[in-house]
């Protein structure tokens, strides 16, 4: 009996552990955990070796910045895991839990970036990756309003922003900020830069263009909640203001995750929990966390 049990293939456990069943019997596509779309050359070399030795010599780049190695045989699963660990690779996850945290390159690489997206993605991954929830749960981190990472597609999207404040003493009145502002939020009158904060969307373009850095700037985060882009398509919405510290950021993301855990029905995406229970109730919880 015991041997029968151990022989039985527990597909659910395999899938949860990142082994995706293929159409081809006894073949699995192994999902590798990737954070923020970054892999080291060490990771890549090991992935290539495993794909060559245990797969069919190709890998698939997933829609969420992941890597899957298809055609892994059932009997090789343990050996493959062990082999990958030597290249500092771990299997990803599937099922009702916090999934791969995606990110654009952010301000460490991209001139447009307002925040260090990879750092934030790593911290979110450390905090939540694999956490069991009523349904899949996706985080995405994008560095600026160009939104290369499509933040609003995610259950929780994080977008880098820059809160700006003009510094008169440094200003040479070149006029660039007024020109680069896409929201017409800046006017220059008698040598003074006036920002209409009702129009300002904290994109940071004024400060980034400024030849003398005549702006006090604060890195900030703009969050969206309830995005989903599968069978149902909905854009995440942002009911709260700019978040200006990591501590505040994680208070709010903690509140969102807790809310979903407490209120979500099994198999229900975050957006539908929010809609069913009521947006006001959810927004109230977020606001409490936002205010601390």
């Amino acid at each position: 009996m015991e041997s029968d049990k151990t022989m039985a293939v527990d597909y659910k456990t395999l899938k949860n552990g990142g082994f995706m069943r293929q159409k081809q019997k006894n073949n699995f596509s192994l999902r590798i955990a990737v954070v923020g779309g970054n892999l080291t050359t060490e990771n890549l070399v090991k992935i290539a070796e495993v794909a060559e030795k245990y797969g069919d010599g190709h890998v698939h780049l997933t829609s969420r910045q992941g890597v899957e190695i298809p055609f892994i045989k059932l009997e090789d699963i343990d050996a493959v895991k062990e082999e990958l660990a030597k290249g500092d690779c771990r299997p990803g996850v599937c099922g009702p839990r916090v999934r791969t945290v995606t990110a654009c390159q952010g301000n460490q690489i991209c001139p447009s970036g307002n925040i260090d997206t990879y750092d934030i993605a790593k911290k979110i991954d450390e905090r939540y990756f694999g956490r069991e929830l009523p349904h899949k749960f996706k985080f995405g981190v994008t560095g600026c309003r160009n939104n290369c990472l499509k933040a609003e597609e995610n259950d929780v999207g994080i977008k880098g922003a820059l809160a700006v404040d003009w510094k008169e003493s440094e200003c040479i009145n070149c006029g660039l900020c007024e020109k680069v502002c896409r929201e017409d939020a800046i006017t220059i009158k008698d040598g003074k830069v006036v920002v209409d904060y009702k129009k300002c969307n904290s994109c940071g373009r004024c400060a980034k263009s400024c030849p003398t850095d005549a702006w006090d700037t604060t890195e900030a985060y703009e969050l969206s909640f309830g995005g989903t882009f599968g069978n149902h398509i909905a854009k995440g919405v942002n009911p709260i203001g700019l978040i200006t510290s990591e501590e505040q950021l994680f208070r709010v993301t903690d509140a969102a995750i807790e809310y979903f855990k407490e209120n979500g029905n099994a198999g229900e995406r975050f957006k539908f929990t929010i809609d069913r229970v009521g947006r006001e109730d959810f927004y109230k919880k977020l606001k409490e966390a936002y205010d601390g």
Binding site: P111, I172, C174, G175, L176, K179, V180, R182, R205, K208, S209, C210, P211
Partner: protein
């Protein structure tokens, strides 16, 4: 523009991104440290993006002049690395 002694000028209104920046960069490379270049550029993407790229290259932007014909002139001082 009278405030500055312009050493050279370049017109990048006849090219599109990313050649706009490349053309401006090449013109700057031909100057000596401290010399001043006037770059004529179009409204829209060029005026939104080229000044920032020049700043990131380490040069000093002195003024943006609206020519009031949908072009601008950016006055840049070359800064050698």
């Amino acid at each position: 523009m009278a405030d500055f002694k312009i050493d050279d000028s370049v017109d990048i209104t006849d090219v599109v991104c990313p050649v706009t920046f490349v053309k401006a960069k090449v013109a700057l490379e031909e100057l000596d440290d401290g010399q001043i270049l006037a770059i004529k550029l179009n409204d829209g993407e060029p005026v939104q993006n080229v000044p920032r790229s020049i700043k990131e290259e380490g040069h000093k932007i002195l003024r943006l002049v609206d020519n009031e014909d949908e072009t601008f002139t950016l006055i840049v001082q070359k800064v050698e690395e």
